[in-house]
Symmetry: C2
Subunit: 342 residues, 2 copies
């Protein structure tokens, strides 16, 4: 433990506790504090909240400022929200405390399209304070941006990039099945879309990151979302979907140059999908087709990306970085890293 | 052209001319000189040698020193040999001229295991001269090191990494088929191994890079090479292989910790292989299986890696780097980069 990167868990919801649960088993990370604003869990032990076998001896506090100044961690695992604007003040406070950040905030993964001014402001602040900020996760952060980009390295030229993530939701937990709208009528499904609770955040960010990485100037990014309708009855251990109901969701982002679609990101999660996989298709010289058989575990993957990126972030020059700017993130579970400092 | 990275082609054999041929079509690269020691081609136009439609107006010279000092390129594409020790003095001269290097020298891709002292010496020299040196290519450089490493990012922990490259040589050129020993008797095949002409260079380097990236201390790296024997008659447009002759080659590198194999790299190229593909298998949490369907074109891939890495090398801090240390290399064909400097 003593040789690990000293990390504070900032945000103790399901994603944050997933990060904690993973980090607690890793010798390259030493958890040294936890922050949340929920009065229900403030004062609880982080290990108990994360369902670990033992307490971690880390009490969740709502006073981030005091914790960060007293503990002086190397890094904060920031897992509180999807909207860059909404979490900005939290990021600012962490940066001003001189602490590096890996965040699962989806819009932070590539904020230059949606929030260029706020991104520039955070970049300046990070540089002033000598710390590095990175938004990552599995999607956005890897499967639909960094991974497709990395596969273009072997290409002489690239015309189009498509990334696809197909998940059969049959074996997933009920909350996931509900989240993707399984079992809803078309009207109910549309209501969920209108409420904004169904949309996966991050496809436009990944689209913009791919374009930026390849040196492309997109004219437009559009996004569509709708149900995958059940054609026959499909069921999981948790629920049964009748024909005419939604089996799940399909969401696609299109990146366009002069009316031509050059980046396509397609996410489908529904009960009864014939196969679960992630894939990258590159049209170029040569064409490439790369498939992750059986797909990638979303919860483990996001927690792993956060923890595995910690070393890169601590080592990187100060500023706001994106995944396309940092050296290849790898699993650092087998490593112990002593004495990190800028 | 005027906005590209200014590059000198250092070495005008088949690999170098492949790089030239690719670079000549790219707006992000401006070829500004060429070096070779072969009197047969010194004085020839680089474009003619690379079978381009037009001359490039670049005359191949054997006086690297004068060329580099007069032209002052941003980078040299170094493609002269596989042995780090054998090409060291060339690298030294380029570095002393203040020029960054991307090299296809296989042993340079990860020289810290075989030649740690020479690697440290080159690293110091590069830092003194403010330039960056990187060895890359498709194998070593990507398929059996950087790519498998990058796929571990989504893993909580990793126990074993295996990378496999299987090529059906039936449709390849005759020189490639001869290179892999197709049509040889077992004795002839063994002679080729003993002469050292058959062995693919780089598997131990890739093995060492994977281990270093994951923070593993290998006790031993072993390598084996032998024929894939034809069981029945197999043929290509160029030659027919009888049963009992070699259809091609199989080469495997093993990385061991305490007697347990933790890294396995397997390369097979033979006439009649049922499928051509590249694959990564990770045993860990979760397990991963990733496949490049149809494999990766070796010649295009190596040239692409060299050219696509140019931007990263020019932007990187000085020193000897390996692929695991540089930000994700992507296809930069769509970009133009002006005014690169350290």
């Amino acid at each position: 433990m003593a040789e690990g990167i000293r990390a504070v868990q900032y945000g103790c919801g399901p994603i944050g506790l997933g990060v904690t649960s993973l980090a607690a088993h890793r010798k390259d990370i030493e958890l040294v504090g936890a922050v949340d604003i929920d009065p229900e869990i403030v004062g609880s032990d982080l290990g108990e909240m994360a369902d670990l076998d033992d307490k971690l001896g880390i009490v969740i506090t709502d006073d981030a400022g005091t914790l960060l100044s007293e503990v002086k961690p190397d890094i904060a695992f920031h897992t509180t929200g999807s909207s860059f604007r909404n979490v900005y003040s939290q990021l600012e406070d962490i940066v001003r405390a001189g602490v590096n950040i890996v965040s699962t905030c989806e819009e932070l993964s590539f904020p230059y399209k949606r929030e260029p001014d706020l991104a520039a402001q955070l970049d300046s602040l990070a540089k002033e304070n000598g710390v590095t900020v990175l938004g990552t996760g599995i999607n956005p952060g890897f499967l639909m941006d960094t991974w497709p980009l990395s596969m273009t390295a072997v290409c002489r030229d690239v015309e189009e990039v498509k990334a696809v993530r197909i998940q059969d939701a049959s074996s997933r937990r009920l909350p996931f099945q509900k989240k993707i709208g399984a079992g809803r009528t078309p009207d109910e499904f549309q209501n969920l879309i209108d409420e904004g609770t169904l949309r996966h955040v991050g496809l436009p960010e990944s689209t913009a990151m791919i374009a930026a990485g390849l040196g492309w100037e997109l004219d437009e990014i559009t996004e569509e979302i709708g149900p995958v309708m059940a054609e026959s009855q499909v069921s999981s251990p948790h629920l049964t979907v009748e024909p005419g109901q939604a089996a799940g969701v399909k969401q696609i982002s299109h990146g366009l140059i002069a009316g031509k679609e050059v980046v396509t990101l397609e996410f489908q999660a529904y009960i009864g999908a014939p196969e679960t996989y992630d894939a990258v298709y590159i049209k170029g010289t040569p064409n490439m087709e790369v498939v992750i058989k059986g797909g990638t575990h979303g919860d483990i993957g996001t927690a792993a990306m956060v923890v595995n990126a910690a070393r890169r972030v601590v080592e990187a020059p100060p500023g706001l970085l994106t995944m396309k700017d940092v050296p290849v993130v790898v699993c650092t579970a087998g490593s112990s890293y002593a004495g990190y400092s800028k």
